[in-house]
């Protein structure tokens, strides 16, 4: 019987395929690229029609807050890459500390984002609000895209943070370790994608004014 379980364990082990997991993760990321990609096409489309309104809308966003969030996300990408590097070297504790730092950056990003959004809400600007309805059409579209795209992105930050938490728990329990690191690598890929999307969102919304 014990022979059977050992064989089963070996069998199970053979079916752990990190390469397939990685390819699967990349395929999923491509669907994410097309999800945001279509929104970027919508942005480009309306930009050609409402160029000046988009610039006026962009000028009302806070470059400093957007810039701070860019630096936060880029740095969180660094700590994520370092966390993977640490576990690759078998340094579990160091990896967990770096992942905690990444989580704190994620919270910082969401904090700044919520300050920005509540400031806009305070001014009466939200999708379909009366104040916004009085704006030029192009600015209404600009804000519509702004709330949709940064909102969808923030949702991805939240999902990424949850994924990091789960990965940390699994590292803590020893399920993810130096010899079986692909889950952490995939979490890292997701986190870097979140960063990639923001790299384009930031200039297109904050810097064209």
């Amino acid at each position: 019987m014990s022979h059977g379980t050992a064989a089963a364990a070996e069998h199970h082990h053979k079916h752990h395929d990190p390469e397939a997991n990685k390819i699967g993760m990349w395929l999923f990321l491509f669907t994410e690229v097309l999800l945001f990609g279509t929104l970027f096409i919508a942005y480009a489309m309306y930009l050609t029609v409402h160029r000046w309104d988009f610039m006026a809308g962009s000028a009302q966003l806070d470059k400093l807050m957007g810039g701070a969030n860019t630096i936060i996300l880029l740095t969180s990408s660094l700590t994520m890459a370092l966390a993977i590097g640490a576990l690759e070297r078998g340094k579990k504790k160091q990896s967990l500390i770096l992942l905690t730092t990444t989580l704190l950056f994620a919270c910082g990003f969401l904090g700044i984002k919520s300050v920005e959004w509540s400031h806009k809400f305070h001014l009466g600007i939200w999708p379909k609000s009366e104040t916004l309805a009085a704006f030029p059409q192009g600015e209404q579209i600009f804000y519509g895209l702004y709330f949709t795209m940064t909102g969808l992105h923030a949702l991805h930050v939240i999902i990424g943070a949850v994924a990091i938490l789960i990965t940390m728990a699994l590292i803590g329990r020893g399920k993810v370790h130096q010899g079986r690191i692909d889950l952490l690598e995939n979490t890292g890929l997701y986190w870097h994608l979140v960063d990639l999307v923001w790299i384009f969102l930031f200039p297109l919304f904050y810097l064209i004014g």
């Binding site: 097309l34 860019t70 660094l78 890292g188 930031f202």
Partner: protein, 97 residues
Amino acid sequence: MGMPKDKDHHIVPYSIYFNVWLALLALTVITVSVSYIDMRNVAILTAVLIATVKCTLVLLYFMHIRFGKPLYAFMILAVLVTYAIFIGLTFADYGYR
């Protein structure tokens, strides 16, 4: 770059990550500074160009495209071509209405 070649899994030196991070921060400072110059027509183009460079750095180094199998680079290329076709068709449709 003198990487150890154990099958597909390279352990990337920490220094590479730090250098890429510094380059990304520098590019962020550049793109924000440039946005204060009134350039009208080229402002958006410059912003997208710098973002593309930043995106490439993240893909190559943080996401390990430079260190992994060429398969991943080909897959990304296929997605980019698909996306370019999307953009081309959308604008062609819109432009010739």
